[in-house]
């Protein structure tokens, strides 16, 4: 029997039973996921949101399974989130950090992948600085691979956790106006969010100066803005992106204060959006540059810490769903 998504009843979000609900080996990107598959993962994450709010947070679903977090690029929060997600489900979680890896000694990525594979991991979460690197590894290993961010390409779990965060607050995606502002060009978060939100029916606007806007981005079904005030008009959600400091020293932007002048989210700017517009940021924030502290800390409208909370639940859902075949779950084996 097709099952309707728990919180949304629109017909395109009904999904079939068993593995047909998510017939993918891994999660390399949002590209290639059907809307009901995204919705399935969000629904699956919901139970973990509730579990995570209890004092006793441990489930033994993945007991005996080994999960490797292979992070070829520095990360604190995403790595921690994946580690906590795996541990809460009872898996043995191992982190491979770049500083101690043989990658520094010139080993090729494929050789590293083959090594990880030979250690018989049951799932691997990978972050890498090059676009496409995660796909390259996924093609070479036998276990499910989760993309924890590859270059400027995709960061699918971030988009899923953002969607879950929005769904909790807004309840419907259809017609929702989401403005994403910041360094769109270099942002995998922006790409995955554009794919995810447009797929779920939201109206996505992107806002950046021309030098930080990728070519032909409108072909991804978004509206392009350079004027932040115009991009904010009637927005229901404002998603700010981090701009790396080195890009504000004259290469792309003359100075941090000039960036703030044009693209910083202040209370006055936020007032141009819908009166109940929500504020999001994937972190880490440059407070006082792309987002003012009094906006980031708005108790009722800033969802920034909720995003972090949803991140753990989404990663638990991904680890659970992607290991069901290996665990021989009925309907998935």
């Amino acid at each position: 029997m097709p099952k309707a998504s728990s919180s949304m009843t629109s017909p395109e979000f009904t999904y079939p039973e068993g593995s047909a609900a998510f017939p993918h080996r891994g999660l390399v990107g949002i590209a290639g996921l059907a809307p009901h598959e995204i919705m399935f993962l969000l629904d699956e994450a919901q139970q973990w949101v509730e579990l995570n709010r209890h004092a006793q947070k441990r489930r033994d679903l993945l007991s005996g399974l080994t999960i490797i977090n292979a992070f070829f690029e520095n990360s604190t929060r995403t790595l921690l989130s994946f580690e906590i997600a795996g541990k809460r489900l009872g898996a043995d979680v191992v982190n491979m950090a770049v500083a101690t890896s043989s990658v520094k000694k010139g080993e090729t990525l494929i050789d590293t992948a083959m090594t990880l594979n030979a250690m018989r991991a049951d799932a691997i979460a990978i972050r890498h600085g090059s676009s496409g690197a995660v796909q390259l590894i996924a093609d070479k290993v036998d276990c499910p691979v989760i993309n924890a961010g590859d270059g400027q390409h995709e960061h699918p779990t971030q988009a899923l956790l953002d969607a879950l965060t929005i769904r909790q607050a807004k309840r419907a995606f259809n017609g929702l106006r989401v403005t994403i502002c910041g360094d769109i060009l270099h942002s995998r978060v922006a790409r995955s969010n554009i794919l995810c939100l447009t797929s779920l029916g939201a109206e996505v606007r992107v806002c950046a100066p021309p030098a930080l806007m990728p070519a032909d981005i409108e072909r991804m079904n978004v509206q392009v803005f350079h004027d932040f005030d115009a991009a904010l008009r009637n927005a229901d959600v404002v998603m700010m992106l981090r701009l790396q400091m080195e890009r504000m020293q004259g290469q792309f932007i003359p100075s941090p204060r000039e960036y703030r002048h044009l693209y910083g989210l202040s209370l006055e700017r936020l007032a141009k959006a819908e009166s109940n517009a929500l504020v999001m940021h994937p972190g880490p924030m440059n407070r006082g540059i792309e987002i003012d502290s009094n906006v980031a800390d708005l108790a009722d409208r800033s969802l920034i810490t909720t995003q972090v909370e949803m991140g753990v639940a989404i990663r638990m859902a991904c680890l659970d769903v992607l290991t069901r075949k290996a665990r021989g779950l009925e309907g998935w084996a």
Binding site: T108, H128, A133, A215
Partner: protein, 416 residues
Amino acid sequence: MSIHAPLTVTGGKLVLPDGRIEAGNIRCEGGFITAIGDVSPQAGDVVHEARGKLVTPGLVDLAVFSIDKPAFHFGGVTRAALMPDQDPPLDVPARVRFAAQSGKPDFWVHPLAAATKNLEGESLAEIALMRDAGARAVATGRSWIRDSGTMLRLLQYAGMLDMVVVTHAEDSGLVGKAVATAGEMATRLGLPSAPAEAEALAIARDIALAELAGAKIHFRKVTTAAGLDLVRRAKDRGAKVTAGVSPAYFMLSDLALANFRTFAHLSPPLRSEDDRKAVIAAIADGTIDMIGSGHDPRGPEDKRLPYTDSAPGMAGSETLLPLTMTLVRDGVISMNRAFELLSANPAKLLGVDAGRLAEGMEADIAVIDPDRPWIVDSDEMAAAAGNTPFDKQPMQGRVLALFKGGVAVKAKKPSA
């Protein structure tokens, strides 16, 4: 004088430089074509029966990055201009002299002298000495010369020596670390990209400098509508400008980058569909003078990497002829024009007496079946590596026999 017996190729259809395709024989002696048409084999001749297939000049490939004779012979290539981007680069006479000898006796390598020392684009290399060591033209290598003053002095100097400057047309400031053409595909894949206009910018500057210097300039690959328009206009006003391209740019667009396929990582990067069509139009109207393979075999250590870390280039010699034949079948060009693009024009640029079926030319001859089907298999290529974006694709056109200087080339047995 050749120690080999004279050769007569009989019963073929000769693709002649005057635009005719005529049934006839061709006789070669001492390494040269001595008679064409109504000529009979003489006693002692080696006779090759062409059985009604096309008899064409051997291909002259401008340019290649590696000397890869099995691939060249498979593709009907009898001569290639070798890019100076070797390790170490062809920037001193001794290396040029060595490279010029390295294909003999069954293949001729025409080295292109590095324009600048170590190909760094800064100080001029010993171009005259390299010319006398066998260099047939000067090349800037894989990259563009960034400094306009250096480029002007290079063109003046090469012009004085009557050598063509073969250049790579991409404005390096605009390109930076880009590996793709700016557009939807690069945006979706999150690949560093540069606008296609990088090519037109480079061509505009270099045509201006070449006209100022009165020198001959050749753009090895012109791949965009805007770049081709600049070449077209320069030719119209009589500038000494020629242009080449390789088949990937009239066969593929940047859609081939899907799934981060590094075999489609080329330099310059694959362009939009509109630019692909503009390349075909420029081949049809004569703006493009030659088609070369850019043969650059790369093993897994260069290609089985994340896209941005992978090396650009493709193994192209085996598919050069069949992909050019698609233009003939599609009515873009005539069969005779195809061999001007593949043989006569590159030979002319290099100043060698080859590339045409005419008396007195060197006897570099191919017997081909332009329709014979086969399938590219990157695991089974004659080339040193199988990095081709045309893997598993059907081709039409195969070389049946190849003669270098009137002597049969023992090609590696075709696999298909």
